[in-house]
Symmetry: C2
């Protein structure tokens, strides 16, 4: 049956131009072209095989990752790939590796926090991978609270050096990727002590291992922190532990763009504004949102295709059973996730624009939009990563029992994705930051200070506090203005109610602590409004291609109305809509699912994922699931022999009632 497209019938029903949708998904024709070329390059190279990953022991797995990273680097050099192409290629190799941290954290840290001189010294070495670096911030005892880091960097004016030291067990650096076994260097974050005084946490370039024989340098204890969630998954990464015993580095290895330590040990603030650091945060979080849409769309692609292949129940006469994608219970769980994938894609695209905007303003010394941009990216990072983690697991469940097999690809996708909810800011901590910003915004509403950016709608507080949803029949819920106003009113009213509750506390900080769980809910309402509004904005653009915009319109409505349904308590308790209107929204939602059904397969085809990248028997493009599942099973090492290892020692004596004599 090789070569037969079992989903051809599904594809023949498509009502839009899939090739044009691929370009919308990729962001531009250029982006599509690069992405498509790199995906094929990786998929066609047997060196990047990954179907055996879950069966490898930790050591084999790790060695295999080292091999792939070297192979990728060789290709990058030989094919003279651009930075964009190289980045895309690495993402399609689809395996966490030390190179992620080298390119994604070590180099950006030096670029962002190093002086011109430091950049000129270190970047060429790093670009050529003559040194390999990681980003050593978190410690055994400290993650979210960066200011609580315990590692010290004490300036010694006698020798013009810093002494890097781990004073306690909990000060051990813990988690940095690439640290455990590979990195030769690290940007280490430590409390600066100079002149007997503390000067906050700063970054220091520290060499960890000899460039000759890779042995740790004197005073340095370094290793891997052990197995993590799942098989394969993030265990390809050498997340590490690192301790310093009075390790000395030259003064010029402190990253001094923002603050300098002089030869005499004086700390001098530079002319560079500290806010620059927020620009970097906006950048990193924007990439995380883009990654969320990638991970989510992979899971959705697998679950959607398999839901069209899988049939269960519904046949009385021995004929074909019903495709599970035709059940409303399946649709009501799956289609909102498909809609979310597109929604996150577009909000990620918008965040790219936001980063450019913020950067330009920073260069012009305009810091006015920074707090709002910072809150907005924090919130969207939290919202999209949490939703994606849950969605991957939901997609696994939507694949029934077979979703539990590693061959479905979903267990590993889940295990490898979920750290995104924790790194670069724990998702709950981030929402509290958003809430704090929103409470400040609300408190200033009367003051004449106009809310900017994604909080601009709050300027219409008076209207939004008293507006009445105009929906009278199901079709009314298709009007973007109606949806938008409902989300604006809900978010605003929740924020205002929380602000009023806060005001009843004599001590604002105590009030914030006491009400924090409720404040998180308000922050989520605001962030959901942002995603909905950016999807609606996207649809105001000119989008070419037959039927493309119509499909996106359906997805947008599903995204919004499903959120409304899930959080209907918010909308009702704030009086934004009535129970009757909620019920109409639900009716509309069901109707939208029916409309989407016909194009579901084409909408996941538009992600343009290769079977290699998907890494899922259930999600195969050709839908040829069962024969391939059967084939895969025999590859398990347990099937190397018909009678398993251990039978003679542990099973036969039991069957033969000879256990008493057996050596166990």
């Amino acid at each position: 049956m090789e070569g037969v497209d079992h989903l051809a019938h599904e594809r023949s029903k498509t009502q839009f131009d899939v090739d044009e949708m691929k370009i919308v998904w990729a962001g531009s024709r250029h982006a599509f072209e690069v992405s498509d070329r790199m995906a094929r390059l990786v998929a066609s190279d047997p060196a990047f095989r990954k179907d055996n990953r879950v069966m490898l022991s930790r050591k084999e797995l790790f060695k295999n990752t080292l091999r792939k990273a070297a192979h990728a680097w060789k290709l990058i050099i030989e094919l003279r790939l651009s930075e964009e192409e190289a980045g895309k290629m690495r993402s399609f190799v689809d395996e966490p590796a030390y190179t992620d941290l080298h390119w994604g954290m070590f180099i950006p840290a030096i670029k962002g926090q190093g002086t011109e001189e430091q950049q000129q010294k270190w970047l060429p070495l790093a670009y050529k991978m003559q040194i390999i670096g990681c980003y050593a911030q978190t410690e055994l005892g400290h993650g979210s609270n960066v200011q609580g880091l315990e590692t010290t960097a004490t300036f010694d004016p006698m020798t013009d050096e810093f002494v890097i030291h781990s004073p306690t067990l909990t000060s051990s650096k813990w988690w940095p990727g690439g640290l455990g076994k590979v990195s030769t260097h690290a940007v280490v974050y430590a409390r600066l002590i100079a002149d007997g005084e503390q000067h906050g946490v700063h970054g220091f370039i520290v060499q960890l291992r000899s460039l000759d024989d890779h042995m740790p340098l004197p005073g340095i204890t370094v290793g891997d922190i052990g197995m993590k969630f799942g098989s394969g998954a993030y265990n390809t990464m050498d997340n590490g532990v690192l301790r310093f015993d009075h390790v000395r580095i030259p003064r010029n290895q402190m990253l001094m763009r923002v603050m300098q330590v002089t030869r005499e040990g004086k700390c001098v603030q530079s002319y560079v504004p500290r806010q620059l650091i927020y620009g970097t945060m906006v950048y990193v979080r924007q990439t995380i949102v883009a990654d969320a849409s990638s991970a989510l769309s992979r899971a959705v692609c697998i679950a959607t295709r398999y839901s069209a292949v899988r049939r269960q129940f519904g046949s009385q006469d021995g004929g074909l059973e019903t495709q599970v994608i035709d059940y409303k219970t399946q649709q009501s769980r799956l289609f909102p996730l498909l809609a979310s994938a597109y929604a996150f894609r577009f909000v990620g695209e918008w965040l790219k624009w936001l980063y450019t905007d913020v950067t330009q303003r920073l260069q012009a010394n305009d810091f006015s939009t920074l707090p709002e941009a910072h809150a907005c990216t924090a919130g969207l990072k939290s919202l999209t990563t949490s939703a994606t983690a849950d969605a991957i697991e939901e997609c696994r469940k939507l694949c029934g029992g077979h979703g539990y097999l590693s061959a479905s690809g979903l267990p590993e996708l889940f295990a490898v994705y979920i750290p995104a909810c924790t790194y670069e800011g724990d998702n709950v901590v981030l929402l509290l930051q958003v809430a704090r910003f929103l409470m400040k915004t609300v408190s200033q509403l009367g003051s004449g200070k106009k809310p900017v950016g994604t909080t601009a709608y709050m300027a219409r507080a008076e209207d939004l506090l008293q507006c009445q949803c105009s929906v009278k029949e199901v079709e009314d819920w298709l009007k973007p203005s109606v949806i938008l106003e409902a989300f604006e009113a809900r978010a605003l009213r929740m924020c205002v109610a929380r602000a009023q509750s806060l005001n009843q506390f004599p001590n604002p900080e105590e009030g914030f602590a006491e009400l924090s769980a409720d404040l998180v809910e308000a922050a989520i309402a605001h962030c959901q409004y942002i995603v909905v509004s950016k999807f609606i904005e996207k649809l105001k653009q000119d989008i070419p291609g037959k039927g493309v915009k119509e499909q996106l319109q359906i997805l947008c409505n599903i995204y919004a109305l499903n959120l409304l349904h899930k959080h209907v308590g918010d909308f009702l308790s704030t009086g934004c809509i009535t129970p009757k209107q909620a019920s109409l929204a639900n009716d509309q939602l069901r109707s939208l699912y029916s409309q989407l059904r016909r194009n579901a397969i084409a909408l996941v085809d538009a992600f343009n994922y290769t079977d290699h990248y998907l890494g899922s028997v259930l999600g195969r493009y050709d839908g040829n699931v069962y024969p391939k599942l059967y084939e895969e099973a025999w590859k398990d090492p347990l099937n190397d022999s018909v009678v398993p290892d251990g039978y003679h020692e542990y099973v036969r004596p039991m069957l033969k009632q000879q256990l008493r004599n057996a050596r166990l």
Copy 2:
């Protein structure tokens, strides 16, 4: 620091008698004593070590499980353990193994579906483990739809045999635990064909492997289906694939308690009522609910202890930071899960009673309560397993980054638990069954047929449709009658509204399909009501022990009010409560969290779990987390050598710019 109790301060604050609570949790003094003794037996035996499990290759892992199963069996014989003790011991070994299916499915199937004669022949062999059996029902193409199974058992009157055959690829048996590598026998479910006609799906005892050399018998293809979610976890189990090529078995190996095939090939219904099968289902699902409370309580125990150890933020002057358990955001996520663990424990206890009740009635030919009991257990199985799966992952997130380490125990607990959402009835399919029963119950409300058991409240439909919640201040939400009525009214009104919507469809089946997602929501509302009501009933009992009942009262209120908060949309849209009352419930919930805080550690101590059973560095009884995490890390195979395997081939050539010459 060995021997120091880092949580002693927490324990000193306890306001109730923990030893008495342990007995409440266990169900009785006897149950506590057995459980405690077996837990210690397993924990103290190095043969049951499991901390290295996630690092083993599939083959090593599986062989290790065979060893443990044999060792356990040896102990059971040597110590002459009772069935109860043996069962407890196996559960504390805490590793899925073929014995689970042998004792839990193969033997019960023969007991439930075999004739007296068949039981006398097969059970003694099985009890002594002279044969090992599994339960071969699901196929590659069929899980939920048992009637759609494709395997055939054709009676051949010439030889007085059945011919067992797999006519298609999708008819391959797929998933049965213990099948892949160990079982010598199986109860195989197949379509009975006799006299040229189909007679439905029945069970057949089929020998799979030689008792001499363990080789598969002629016509039988059998193997393992490959890796599943996670490392360690369910990969200790040989879930299998099985194909038959015209395998012949004697006629008397069809399980004939309910229907017999005569020598002439006639099918004869026996006097035994088919409903007996539902009795077994009630039994199995009751054990699943009990298991849910065990898995959930383990996760909660880990997260609660670690939340008291972990400190982050909140210190201005270098002093101790705030324990994360003191943050309201942490409490509002963690404490409802702690409450759920107790809630599920008590509803599980009640299900045990229900099973006894159903059994007695069946014996007296009283089938009147069976449909309700069946719906109720289906719903509770679905509710508790879904909630537990989500809760384990939530507990992992509550442990921050370190929860992602295998050493936290939570990744493996999640991976090993989640199949419970799928086996013995997919959770969504089960809720649809509940919904169907509820719709029937509602439709009969006017007919004089009184709803029984957990649906008895529906008899008060008229009241419940118009009652008004009496809550005026926060304290009112502590009244059991108020809570109960709110949950009754919500469930009833949702059911009635769905029934009315259904009535608008000319074809009821089409209506049921179209509205199925909404029907699932009504079923959930009903099931949540059951759990709340059984918790409240439990508290009407006499519960000895200082402060024990007070703590359970707090947990009960947290369980109910948190559900109300999470599903407030249901309560508001059905007019059961007002927004103001919802807000008061939320205020009460915060106050309950504060009350629970002080006893949180003692409440998880009451589960009486050994450190061995918990299998978590984060959840250690003594709270000595950081030194042990540090110690664990070095045990990873990657740390066997300072310079990793692969450095010379794949890292050094890169650093030295000699990659072009390297062999990759």
